[in-house]
Point group: none
Chain length 151, copies 2
Amino acid sequence: MFRGANKITLDAKGRLAMPTRYRERIVERSNGRLIATVDRADRCLLIYPLPEWEEIEQKLRRLPTLNPVARRLQRLMIGHATDIDLDSSGRILVPPSLREYAGLAKTVMLVGQGSRFELWDEALWNESREQWLKVDESTDELPPELSSLYL
Amino acid sequence: MFRGANKITLDAKGRLAMPTRYRERIVERSNGRLIATVDRADRCLLIYPLPEWEEIEQKLRRLPTLNPVARRLQRLMIGHATDIDLDSSGRILVPPSLREYAGLAKTVMLVGQGSRFELWDEALWNESREQWLKVDESTDELPPELSSLYL
DNA sequence: TCGGCGGTGGGAAAAAGTGGGAACGAATGG
DNA sequence: CCATTCGTTCCCACTTTTTCCCACCGCCGA
């Protein structure tokens, strides 16, 4: 599974060199085929190996079409999903439209999140992280899954 | 179990010599494989033997993705989790990004906390400890788990 | 005092990141 | 239908980072 935060620079052509430690796993999992789409809440991109994405797309499709929240999710996630493959030197090309959505400039953060990656503009990632740290998580606000969590 | 506070100096490359008394236990527990990540509240790092970390990651990943509190936890903990191995002379290399996060300069404190270690910048550790001592914990505010605790 | 162990530092080899150029293919316009 | 141009992809080479290994130093116990 994917974890850890990596600072990466996009080159002039918008290419992103996937860190070596992930490459092997991506190739064996999906033969280098990835799907990028937008996050529903934050200005960042989500990158899934193709098999994982297909499961998610299944679930999204089964949501009731008449429900506005579901509809919105489908439009955002399926609507922006783009195939991106690892090239022969382990790089991916982030499409301009998605790059623009997430405000990706020269330096970005590739963040492992289990079965997927998140891709953030570096400055936005740092700002957001500071926000998350500031929030005081008083125990009584926590959903039941969290309140009994021991780390 | 890991106990005790150790003052350690990082060398110029960010390497940290694990105190000898922990080495054997780390090697037999996880073959020298550790995971470092950030603490969700304090500016310090958490260091787990790989098996312990994997349990935690499991729990975190099962949390609902659409819940903002859960998402924040996942991003902080899984998002920063980095593999670090004991090298041939019992040292670990703390990645620059994590070093920066915790403000680790030359001298740091490695603090045993049961199944994991905490890694603090020495100055920050001392300040924080003073804070903890100052806080007056009036008994009637204590959650039930604590009010019956005998130390 | 000598030997060993733990801590420290540095250097060299290997690997990974980075950038640019060339070739190929598709699209557009004459 | 052909030619030119733009975009994409593949490949090579350079630079930087990482990793591994070895040697030194200082302390402690014998």
